[in-house]
């Protein structure tokens, strides 16, 4: 009985650990197939378009409004110390180091990660993945590799765009609406934001891209149980990716800065 109690108590932990292990195996398999011929550039470009180009609008909107609200909030805080001039630097640092990569990753998870899980999930339940295996082709090479590579490549690019539109949004609110001196706004920003801040943010974005695509593909790839299973896999993909992104964000940040 005590044994049963322990099993119940530790079930969530064993579940998380075994899931982590399986995702790790999928990562290894993905890495193996990435460097095996023949290379399918068509599939890769298609996924890059899906993950990257089609996420542009949502990333621009997210970046712009985040920058704008950051300017608004930091202005009201800095005004108490009469240091409104720091708004530009604050917006730029927050965007490049933290909010650019994280919010981009979360938005892409919602848009593209969920679609990856749903697509692979429905391919699983309609036996299309088995059909690939039966044709002596690796489903990981055909389905997972292009999605993971595309996300790994596109997330940093999307993050640059989010950073830029965020700073632009901050500039618009700070300088044009709240009347901060333009010269001060920009000079403080240039003084306090280094290239390291941007690079580290982009490295994080690449890791987030890997996480969201790998977790989403994993959830879709091992879907069970018809339409309901596909729905469940999609939900789990978004939740698991987002949580993993946020946790790894802390770990990466503590290692980098």
């Amino acid at each position: 009985m005590f044994n049963g109690f322990l099993t119940t108590l530790f079930r969530p932990f064993t579940y998380v650990i075994s899931e982590f292990g399986r995702v790790w195996f999928m990562l290894m398999e993905t890495a193996y197939w990435t460097f095996r011929r023949p290379f399918k550039f068509n599939n890769l470009f298609k996924q890059m378009e899906f993950v990257g180009v089609k996420s542009l609008v949502i990333v621009i909107i997210t970046g712009a409004f985040t920058g704008m609200v950051l300017a608004l909030q930091s202005y009201s805080a800095f005004r108490r110390f009469s240091s409104e001039g720091l708004v530009g630097a604050t917006v730029a640092l927050s965007m490049t180091r933290e909010l650019g990569p994280v919010l981009t990753a979360l938005m892409v998870t919602g848009r593209a990660g969920s679609a990856m899980a749903a697509e692979l999930g429905s391919m699983r339940v309609t036996e299309q993945i088995d059909a690939l295996t039966v044709m002596a082709l690796s489903p990981v090479k055909y389905l997972v590799v292009p999605r993971v590579l595309a996300s790994l490549l596109m997330l940093p690019i999307l993050t640059v765009i989010a950073d830029f539109t965020g700073i632009l949004g901050g500039y618009f609110v700070g300088v044009k609406l709240l009347g901060i001196n333009e010269g001060v706004f920009i000079s403080k920003m240039v003084k306090y934001v280094g290239l390291d801040d941007i690079y580290n943010g982009l490295a994080k974005a690449a890791v987030f891209g890997l996480i969201l695509s790998l977790v989403s593909c994993y959830k879709g790839f091992y879907t069970k149980g018809g339409a309901e299973g596909v729905g469940k896999a999609t939900t789990e993909a978004v939740v698991a990716s987002s949580v993993t992104i946020l946790i790894s964000d802390y770990v990466l940040t503590s290692l980098m800065f």
């Binding site: 059909a131 002596a136 082709l137």
Partner: protein, 254 residues
């Protein structure tokens, strides 16, 4: 040349303690249609997934052309899989590709044929299943019976030695079922390949089978020509045939 393509020896498989295959012994003859009949949920699909290496048995051997495929790794298995084509229950067409691309897919992936040869082969295969005018359609625009015909054309594309059919007539109306059965028989007569069909549709499958094997409670309880099976004195066989109520079948009304 040995006339046995596939030999299954004492195959066992359980899922979470539930026994599904309990010592299967079966021989599949080269160039013939072997039909495995049995109840839905009785392990037919599991048996078929073992034949092509999608599942590993707990115990037992599957010999295909002198190789025990249960002992092979994924790369060696892929070499064996090249001898197989498979028609899935729901056809499993790639829904991002149209009919032509679906049938061309195995050719494009496994051969270096120029595009005009691929086009010729695809058209030939689609003609064999009477779907030549549908090359541009997407799977979502096709009926269930048409999907299965495209699935058959795709399975035939690389001229495999063995073709597996997973419930080819399930979820189809009787008329379409009949055309699919005829198509299976016609292509087999024409190509002389080994066909393995799993089905619970007794009447239809007895029309086309050379050999029928009955799967019951994880074992092959009877196997022989359709005629022999109809005359079988085995309780399980009689009961199964009786349920189909086909005139002339054991237990059915005459």
């Amino acid at each position: 040349m040995d006339d046995t393509t596939i030999r299954i020896v004492d195959l066992h498989k359980s899922f979470n303690g539930q026994v599904v295959l309990d010592g299967i012994d079966l021989e599949v003859k080269r160039g013939k249609i072997t039909v495995i009949i049995g109840k839905s949920g009785g392990g037919k699909s599991v048996l078929m997934k073992h034949l092509i290496g999608l599942m590993k048995p707990d115990k037992g051997e599957i010999w295909i052309d002198g190789l025990d495929i249960t002992k092979l790794n994924e790369r060696e298995l892929n070499r064996v899989r090249m001898k197989f084509g498979m028609l899935f229950q729901e056809a499993a067409l790639f829904d991002s590709m149209n009919v032509f691309e679906n049938v061309a897919f195995p050719l494009r992936e496994h051969t270096r044929l120029p595009e005009k040869d691929i086009k010729r082969i695809v058209e030939e295969k689609l003609k064999a299943v009477s779907l030549l005018g549908f090359t541009e359609k997407l799977p979502s625009e096709l009926s269930g019976g048409m999907k299965k015909r495209v699935g058959l054309a795709r399975a035939l594309a690389l001229d495999p030695e063995v073709i597996l059919f997973d419930e080819p007539t399930s979820a189809l109306d009787p008329v379409i079922s009949l055309t699919i059965e005829d198509l299976i028989k016609e292509t087999q007569m024409h190509l002389q390949k080994t066909y393995v069909v799993i089905s619970h549709d007794v009447a239809g499958m007895f029309r086309i089978a050379d050999t029928v094997a009955m799967l019951y409670e994880g074992k092959i309880v009877a196997s022989g020509t359709p005629y022999e099976i109809k005359r079988s004195s085995q309780e399980a066989v009689k009961e199964f045939l009786k349920a189909t109520k086909i005139p002339g079948f054991a237990g059915g009304e005459l």
